[in-house]
Structures are given as C-alpha cells and as structure tokens.
C-alpha cells in the first residue's frame, strides 16, 4: 500500500520528525492503523513501521475530522456558538462549552452569578465522571477485544454513564450535546427533585467504581498490559506540553482548576492526584482518583448551591444580543482530557473576530511518536487508550 511512496521513516518531510528506535537488522513492514479502526478512538491514522511485532517508528496523521470550527465561530454570534462549541470535545461537552463562554465573559468582562457558577461546576464535574466512564470502557474494550472481557467492562461503564446522561437529559433535554451554557450564565435551572436524583446517581456510581477496581486492579492480566507500558518521563511531558491526566501521571503536578481557578472552583476542596510512574497504569490510577474527587465535588456543590438567578443577562431574545467590546484574551478550563483553552479576539460586534481553540488532545497526541517506538503492536492500543484522545478536539 505504500510502495512507490518515500519511506516514512527516513524522510518525513519538512518540519516533521519521526523518532526511530534501532532494533536490529530485520525486515521492516509498514502497516497502516488506518482511520477506520476499532480502536482508533475516532478517526486517526498511525503509520507504523514494524520489525516483527515491535513498532520501530510511528507517523501520526490527523485531520480527518476537521470541521472548520474556528472559521465557523467567526460567522456565528456569541449567542449561537455555545451549542456548536460542545462539538469540539463532544465526549465532554460541558467543559468545551464552558471554555468558550468563559473566554467571552473574560474578554467582555461579564459577571456570572454565583448560582450559575456552581451549576457550571456541577455540570463540568458530572461530565468529567461521564467522560472517564467512557474512557475506562473503551480502553478496556481495546485491550480486551470487542468480544471479550473488555466488552463487559465497557457495558458496565456505559450503563453508569447512561445514568449521568439521564440526569443531563432531565436538566437540559439533551443527552450528549447540551447548549447548557450561555454568555452570562447558564440556560437551564435544575427542575424539582433533580438534586436528590443527582446524589443517588453519584452514590451508585461510587459503589460501582469499587466493582470496576475489583475487576481490574489486582488483575495480573491487566497489570502486565499496563505497567511499564508507554512511559512518559517527566521531562518529556514538560517538553512536549502534554496536559491533564497524562501530565499528572508523569509527576507534573498541574491542574487548571487549582492553578487558575475559574467559576468558583476556589470555593471547593478537592485533591489533585499525581503519580510518578508515567506509564499507562499511573494514568489509570490518576483517572480513577479523579472519578472519586469529582464525586466529592458534586456533593459539595449540591450542598452549597445558592439561590439566585442563573444568568446575569436576560434570556436570549435576538441573535445579536451579546456584543463584546474590542479586546482579546485566553481562557482555559480543565477538561476531562486536559487543558482546553479558547483564545478570543473580539472587535466590538456580535461575532468574534478570531477564535482559536487549544485542544487538549492535540497536545497529548504529539507525545505518541516519542513513546510508542520500542513497544509491541498490542501496546499501541493500550497507549492510545490511556492517552484518551477525542478527535473533535484534535482536528476541530
């Protein structure tokens, strides 16, 4: 399939480097883990150069999901775009919308009432739990096969994720892409009985987490697949610029919620898990602790939710309602995958002049050519799963 094309490993082209791992004098096979693949986590093409079962070089090709978000933002107003923003990191839509509206509010210097801030935190943390449920399920399915034990864990975590999606459905009416945030606050107030239901759901998920850990934690099969695999050293993490659970799994103690608190995160008490091993197992531990910390946060928010308005601006009545004066600024949030940021340049009108998304998965993927060579093919899927990319963020 690549006959006639220049060998990827020797001449990757201007501006691109491919890290090679010298293995031996054996014959090399160039294999395409193509955009259509059960474990590509989206549309991702990895051109692997193999010697036997060992990967010698990786050339990552992205861009299959490019939908011109940044150009689209220039043609849609501040009122229209939040529901589109959720489609960048579509697995963790609440944090994606939050990144956008927070940047608009920062540039426009718009306050958000306290209740809305707490509701935003609640939505973001519930979404983080749901996104990690999906991560755990798909990662185990990649490692265990669609027809094996991994599928069992996948179905259990999806069953739990459905509970959270039901909560969001009762709150906003939609299950995956919400349009919950708007400039100045949020659009929906929780209906009666929602808080009690939220508590029950979170309690149930905490109990089920114990089951997942029982299935995985001491399991030698799981441990040999994940320990020592895909080690990102601390220096590499800081050099390449990975973020989120990847960085925290390698010893970089950084979380945007604590370093740069937004939306009243400073009012709450939560721990940021850090592991030093840097392998897939460390990242797994980080996310499992994040599950529990998010559950704690949800309970704190529900306990302290103040009364009050949910938006500092009246409800949307016309398309050009929000006008932001000239200015620019960068706002970031801690999405489920890392630092999701939005750089906005406003020019006084109802539409942004320029919007730039900083996708967490985009930075995280750039570490792959450094850590995959030297591993076997089976480890490629384990590493991809622990990196947890969502290609809406990568390609936008």
């Amino acid at each position: 399939m690549d006959e006639g094309a220049p060998a990827m490993t020797t001449d990757p082209g201007p501006g691109r480097t491919v890290v090679e791992y010298g293995y031996g004098g054996n014959e090399r096979l160039v294999m395409n883990m193509g955009p259509q693949h059960p474990s590509a986590h989206g549309v991702f093409r990895a051109i692997l150069t193999l010697e036997g079962e060992t990967v010698v070089a990786v050339d990552a090709v992205i861009g299959y999901l490019h939908r011109c978000h940044e150009k689209l933002a220039e043609t849609l107003t501040y009122v229209q775009y939040p529901s589109i923003a959720s489609k960048t990191d579509y697995v963790s839509a609440m944090t994606a919308e939050l990144a956008y509206v927070a940047s608009v509010e920062k540039v426009g210097k718009i306050d958000v009432p306290k209740r809305a801030q707490y509701l935003r935190v609640l939505a973001a943390e519930l979404q983080r739990i749901a996104s990690h449920c999906l991560w755990l399920g798909t990662w185990c399915m990649d490692m265990g096969g669609a027809l094996g034990g991994g599928a069992t864990i996948f179905l259990y975590t999806i069953r739990e994720r459905e509970l959270i999606l039901d909560l969001f459905e009762a709150l906003t009416g939609a299950r995956l892409l919400y349009g919950f945030h708007q400039v100045g606050g949020v659009r929906y107030d929780p209906p009666a009985g929602w808080a009690a239901r939220c508590r029950e759901t979170v309690d149930l998920i905490e109990r089920r987490l114990v089951e997942y850990e029982a299935m995985l934690e001491d399991n030698a099969f799981f441990l040999v697949r994940t320990q020592g695999v895909g080690v990102i050293s601390r220096e590499l993490a800081q050099d390449v610029g990975v973020c989120g659970p990847l960085a925290r799994g390698s010893g970089v103690d950084y979380d945007v919620r604590r370093a740069d608190p937004y939306s009243s995160y400073g009012d709450f008490d939560f721990k940021v898990p850090v592991e030093t091993a840097g392998d897939c197992f460390a990242r797994y531990r980080v996310r499992m602790v994040e599950f529990r910390e998010s559950i704690k946060l949800v309970r704190q928010v529900l306990d302290g939710l103040p009364e009050g308005p949910i938006s500092s601006r009246p409800g949307v009545k016309s398309v050009g309602q929000v006008r932001i004066p000239k200015g620019e600024g960068y706002t970031r949030v801690e999405g489920a995958r890392g630092e999701l940021g939005c750089y906005l340049v406003a020019d006084g009108g109802a539409k942004p002049y320029r919007l730039k998304w900083r996708g967490a998965s985009f930075s995280n993927l750039s570490v792959l050519p450094h850590i995959i060579p030297g591993h076997k093919i089976a480890d490629v899927v384990a590493i991809m799963g622990s990196v947890d990319p969502v290609f809406g963020e990568v390609d936008r």
Binding site: Q80, D111, P113, R159, E169, G173, Y188, P314, S318, V319
Partner: protein, 186 residues
C-alpha cells in the same frame, strides 16, 4: 510475567484476582438487564426532552401562534429555518415556514427566542424515514406534528423566565408568569 519475590505469593494473588473478577461478572449475571425493549416499551422521557420541532396554536383563540417575525430563522446556527411573513390587520402570520429537520441541531435556540411560543419541541424523536425529503417539514406538517405528539415543557417564555435575573420588587417564582427582565448593570 513480572518477576516477583515469591512464586507462591504471586500465584496466590493471581488466583484471588481471577476469583474477584469472575465474582463481579457473576454478580452482574443476576442483576436485571437494563435493556428497554423499544419500541414495545418506551422509557419515560423527562419534561424538558428536546425532540422534533412543531408549530403550535394559540391557547385562547386557536389561531396559529406564529407571527412570522423570523427571529428563529436568524438565530438558528445551521440556518435550517426559512420563514416568509404575511401581513394582516391585527397581527402578522407566516406565509411559509420550512424547517429542514435533517440538518437541525436540536439546540433549542429557536424555541428560546420565539416571542409567541409558536415553535416548540416535542417529547418524541421518532420520525425516521428512508426518504430525506420527508424530513423537510413545511408549515402544515409542523402544525400536524404539534397536534399528534406531546409537547415538551420548554417554550420561549418559560425558558426566558427561567434565565432572567429577578426584579428586586417581585419575588421570582420559577413556574410563575412573565417577569419583565430589567437590563442588569454589567
């Protein structure tokens, strides 16, 4: 296998871990399946469910509620709504109203901006068809859908009331009537 200090300790741990994993699947064997046998059984949709769109009639007069103001057309992000206004003496009407449901995002922004609660969402999504042209809804079809299915809770006025900051004089009641929104100081 990773090397360990004691073969027997590791084997014992493996056996325990295997037993625990098998125990979890065994426990789940006896739980009730979460499958909902759609379409014989439908799950209960919440009040605010965002389903397919429809046009409503006014409650008191029974006339069409849409005044053809085109606010929904302007706010729709994928621009799927096209409206033409027909002027009349007391109030305006919509001459034509087309909504391309196959491109609709179901973001509820059109419902949010409607001043007369004319466009609403229903608590159903079941409009699957083999011919995409059936999803190009015209005004008659939209009105017919509104009569056939149960509407969702959200209408324009209710949503805007929920989002409006309260006036200091009148106490804010969530299910209450229209509170005139004051422009808040920024």
């Amino acid at each position: 296998m990773p090397s360990s200090p004691s073969f027997w300790a590791e084997t014992g741990q493996l056996v325990r871990a295997v037993g625990r994993a098998l125990g979890v699947t065994f426990q789940n064997f006896f739980r009730r399946p979460v499958t909902v046998q759609y379409p014989t059984v439908k799950r209960v949709y919440p009040d605010r469910f965002r389903g397919i769109l429809a046009l409503a009639y006014e409650k008191d007069t029974g006339e069409e509620a849409c005044i053809g103001c085109r606010l929904c057309e302007f706010i729709c992000p994928p621009q799927v709504i096209k409206v033409e206004m027909r002027k009349a003496e007391k109030r305006n009407y919509a001459k034509t109203f087309t909504l391309e449901l196959y491109s609709c995002e179901f973001c509820e922004l059109c419902v949010q901006v409607c001043p007369t609660d004319a466009i609403i969402m229903l608590k159903t999504f079941d409009l699957a068809t083999a011919d995409r042209r059936e999803l190009l809804l015209d005004k008659d079809r939209l009105h017919a859908l509104g009569l056939q299915h149960e509407p969702s809770w959200a209408t324009g006025n209710r949503l805007r009331d929920m989002q409006a900051p309260p006036k200091p004089v009148k106490a804010e009641a969530k299910a209450g009537g229209k509170a005139e929104a004051k422009e808040p100081a920024e």
